[in-house]
């Protein structure tokens, strides 16, 4: 995405937040600041000195460190090994390196255990390793790209405590986020980017989330709330005792789905909360037919689909918005219109007849139909692209996601599996996607919603379940539950029916949750 006329000044020893829609140019700006991309025009000054950054190595040499949204760690190495990897020249790879790591860990209270394997660490710990890596390389300015997207509320608080620690030591933090509440609570200064330019610089004391949102999109902040219930009695998807085991990297077989049962009715959104890696991805893949459970049955609209292959399930009316759109929903190097066909090659408007209409000859694609319908989706779902011939990779994340949602919704699914449907998507697109889900739900769509965004889960779902270590351990009423209560169940400290006024945790979280509501 292009940037033009970006003016941003970050003072030393502050936390500076950068907010803006996806595709607004935040990522490009970050890449420029970290030397991954070169600006066509304009200058960067560090400590008053003009700097030209040709590569991340230049940026690191000038004390800029980056924590990417997707962690760049080698799973099969220890924390110590990951930290020194590529920086062996600084303090060697042995005792001195370990000493330096522990110094940094103590100074900023990162709680690092250097000999732990990265694959055994949770998301929050991995993030701290990324921060440590940057500090180890001498970073005085840290860039964090959407650091809270993968964290539960308690972990976000811990991260913010770390950031304040860094700030107190005179480090500078540039912090990117969509979550305006968080931005206001941790930032000392805020810069808003819209469509590639800086539109405002505000201080958190003088602004509200609502005003910030208006600056970002030029309209009101959308909320995911759906309060009028459309839930019916007719079951659409019934899962009965799903069991699935997988072999982990140590060769140990463990249950990733352990007797999962649920029913989604027509017009119902079932939300599943859980820290990533507790079986949500496997559940989705089991329902899609990409993994075969060793036990259990799946019934879609009265028909047993347990033995049906993925294509049959899709034809049977399951729409799929996967968690990792690059991996599971797009052919990145193929043009948009070919991506229109992906997953729906057997259905109109993409499917043609057989060659010469003779049975037994190959089935044709209706290329014109696919193109026309791609153009319609681009139009109807406001996918910002110059055309349908560009590769999917050249669109921004939010626009890719709008195209995917459009594609899946175009086939009028009976059941929609939406895994993190608005992850990495700007507020405007988020509102649109929520609207789409709500509208289809009114017409009897059943939705299996997986999300790490608890506000989204609470706002959209009719029923909430919490998944922990492959089991559905708790349920909650989205009308009364708070993100904090869900957070406790997600980390395994609460189970059963999460009832708001009676639980003891409520006392601790009460004031905060009052604010939230």
């Amino acid at each position: 995405m292009a940037n033009r006329d970006i003016d941003i000044a970050v003072r030393r020893g502050t936390v500076h937040a950068l907010v803006g829609e996806n595709g607004a140019g935040k990522s490009t700006l970050m890449k420029i600041l970290y030397g991954m991309q070169k600006p066509d025009e304009g200058t960067i000054s560090i400590n008053g000195e003009r700097a030209t950054l040709h590569s991340p190595a230049d940026a690191i040499a000038r004390g800029i460190g980056m924590v990417h949204q997707h962690f760049m760690l080698a799973d099969n190495l220890t924390v110590l090994e990951n930290t020194v990897l590529g920086a062996e020249g600084l303090h060697g790879i042995g005792g001195r390196a370990r000493q330096r790591i522990m110094e940094l860990s103590d100074a900023y209270q990162l709680g690092i255990r250097p000999d732990e394997l990265v694959e055994d660490l949770g998301v929050a710990d991995r993030q701290r390793v990324e921060i440590l890596k940057a500090l180890y390389r001498g970073a005085r300015t840290l860039i964090l790209d959407e650091p809270t997207a993968v964290l539960v509320p308690q972990e976000v608080d811990a991260l913010f405590a770390n950031l304040r620690e860094l700030k107190a030591e005179g480090l500078t933090v540039v912090f990117i986020s969509h979550k305006l509440g968080e931005v206001l609570s941790v930032a000392d200064a805020i810069t808003v980017i819209r469509r590639g330019t800086t539109v405002a610089s505000v201080s958190p004391g003088e602004t509200t989330p609502k005003q910030l949102a208006e600056l970002m999109v030029g309209s009101e902040l959308p909320t995911p709330e759906t309060r009028e219930s459309t839930v019916t009695d007719a079951p659409m998807l019934t899962a009965e005792g799903l069991r699935l085991s997988a072999t982990d990297s140590d060769g140990v077989v463990r249950a990733v789905l352990d007797g999962v049962s649920f029913t989604i009715h027509k017009g119902e959104v079932l939300g599943i909360a859980g820290v990533e890696g507790n079986g949500q991805a496997e559940l989705v893949e089991a329902v899609m037919g990409m993994r075969t459970p060793k036990d259990g049955t799946l019934t879609l609209d009265g028909a047993d689909i347990t033995r049906l292959a993925t294509r049959g399930r899709r034809e049977g009316g399951i729409g799929y918005i996967p968690e990792d759109r690059h991996r599971h929903a797009l052919l990145l190097e193929a043009p948009l219109w070919e991506n229109r066909i992906l997953g729906h090659a057997t259905e109109p408007p993409n499917a043609g007849g057989r060659l010469f209409g003779i049975p037994g000859l190959p089935r044709l694609l209706a290329l014109r139909g696919a193109r026309t319908d791609s153009a319609r989706i681009v139009d109807a779902y406001d996918v910002r692209t110059p055309g349908i011939e560009v590769t999917a990779a050249s669109l921004s994340g939010g626009n890719q996601q709008k195209f995917i949602v459009g594609r899946e919704m175009s086939h009028r699914p009976k059941l929609l599996i939406a895994a993190h449907p608005t992850r990495g998507v700007d507020v405007g697109a988020q509102a649109q996607i929520w609207d789409q889900i709500r509208a289809a739900r009114r017409e009897g769509l059943a939705v299996l919603l997986i999300s790490a965004d608890l506000d989204e889960l609470i706002g959209l779902s009719d029923t909430l379940r919490v998944m922990y270590r492959g089991r559905l351990v708790a349920d909650a009423d989205p009308a009364t539950v708070t993100p904090q209560e869900l957070g406790s169940a997600m980390t395994g400290t609460a189970s059963g029916h999460l009832e708001h006024p009676d639980t003891p945790q409520d006392a601790a979280w009460g004031p905060a949750s009052e604010e939230e509501r």
């Binding site: 995405m1 292009a2 490009t28 991996r327 052919l331 997953g343 190959p362 011939e389």
Partner: protein, 394 residues
């Protein structure tokens, strides 16, 4: 785009402006595509010429003279016929390899597949004496079936046991050689002819037609190559099966999530690749030797890999690459007479493949970057354009 507060007229105007933008962009993208498409081969040819010249010059000879000898000799009419006939099996071999390449399967075993296929087809053909209209199809179908089975072994091993097709196809090449050696003896499927063993000659009725040209005819099996090229283009680009196959090649997880059975696709495409590989021996068998002997040409399967790379798996690109290969081999013979080292042509072939692969990859990456930047620029320009209007905003 947010349409809060937009009147229908403003909306219509926007639509109109946007449509115009799209048309312009579409035109621009296609022109750019054309330039990029030409840039890669031009870059590759220039680089290959320069590097080849350096190699020839380093061997103490005059590169320009070498090129002029090649062009003079290569453009003679008997050379042209020779080149076309040589290119037919090369093209078939490249197509067989390319089917695998399109879904990221490396069928290194085309060499063994076509030899086994040609051998059994020759044995079957030599044992029958039917009218040509029946026997020729039988021979061709036998070859395709045997080639498919031989490649299919690798496909099944990959899907059931997870063995890399690179390993199995290489090993199957070697097994193919031994298998043919075993059957190619007098008491089995062969007859002795001087120092050579070969299968019984095909009856005259099984000789494929030729296209009379001066001074020598072009093999009629060229129609098989053309048919394979057309089918390759049509099946991959226009059919559901072809889409599924390309989807697996582009992204296996995305294809699986879209409902393609990746395992079945691996086996199917190996079978197809092997069936086409089975055709590679047909020009020789049906137009030249009429039997499979110890002197049957080997190594075309590996040439096919180079040609598929050179032709970028494109049906026309591979045809040009096959002709270029034939040209180099033909003119290489001549260079020897002119006192150039015989290996110079092989060096040039290697240089060309390397240059093409590097040039295309460079241009592809550059093109992707340009496109991404363009999309971004145009969109922000468009956004800026619509922003100037008084509407959008609450």
């Amino acid at each position: 785009m947010n349409d809060l507060g937009e009147t229908p007229e403003q909306r219509a105007l926007h639509r109109h402006l946007e449509d115009r933008y799209w048309l312009r962009l579409r035109g621009r993208f296609s022109k750019e595509k054309l330039i990029l498409a030409l840039a890669a081969p031009v870059l590759a040819i220039v680089a290959a010429l320069v590097l080849s010249s350096l190699v020839i010059a380093a061997s103490g000879k005059d590169p320009l003279h070498a090129f002029s000898v090649m062009i003079d000799f290569g453009s003679k009419s008997d050379s042209q016929v020779w080149i076309v006939n040589k290119a037919i099996p090369y093209y078939l071999s490249a197509a067989a390899v390319a089917i695998g390449f399109r879904m990221k399967l490396f069928n290194i075993g085309v060499d063994g597949q076509y030899r086994v296929a040609a051998f059994f087809a020759a044995a079957v053909g030599g044992a029958l004496a039917l009218p040509g209209a029946i026997q020729i199809p039988i021979i061709i179908l036998t070859a395709m079936a045997v080639g498919a089975v031989w490649a299919g072994i690798a496909g099944v091993l990959k899907t059931t046991r997870g063995v890399s097709e690179v390993i199995t196809t290489i090993m199957l090449n070697s097994i193919a050689g031994s298998l043919i050696g075993y059957f190619l003896s007098e008491d089995k499927l062969a007859v002795k002819d001087g120092n050579l063993f070969h299968t019984t000659n095909l009856p005259d009725s099984s000789h494929f037609f030729t296209i009379p040209t001066d001074p020598k005819p072009i093999y009629g099996t060229i129609v098989i190559a053309i048919a394979v090229g057309l089918a390759y283009w049509f099946v991959l680009g226009r059919t559901r099966f072809g889409f599924d196959l390309r989807a697996v090649g582009r992204s296996e997880p995305a294809a699986a999530a879209s409902g393609v059975s990746v395992k079945r696709m691996v086996v199917t495409s190996m079978l197809l690749s092997g069936a086409v590989a089975g055709l590679v021996g047909m020009p020789t068998l049906l137009n030249v030797s009429y039997n499979y002997g110890t002197d049957f040409p080997a190594g075309i399967g590996f040439t096919g890999i180079a040609i598929a790379l050179l032709g970028r798996n494109h049906p026309i690109g591979m045809a040009l690459a096959a002709l270029l290969w034939g040209f180099l081999e033909r003119t290489g013979i001549r260079l020897e007479f002119e006192d150039y080292a015989q290996e110079i042509v092989e060096v040039m072939q290697g240089i060309i493949v390397l240059c093409v692969v590097i040039a295309y990859e460079t241009v592809r990456r550059y093109g992707l970057r340009v496109q991404q930047r363009k999309v971004g620029e145009e969109l922000s320009a468009r956004a800026a354009g619509t922003n100037d209007k008084p509407e959008v905003s609450a």
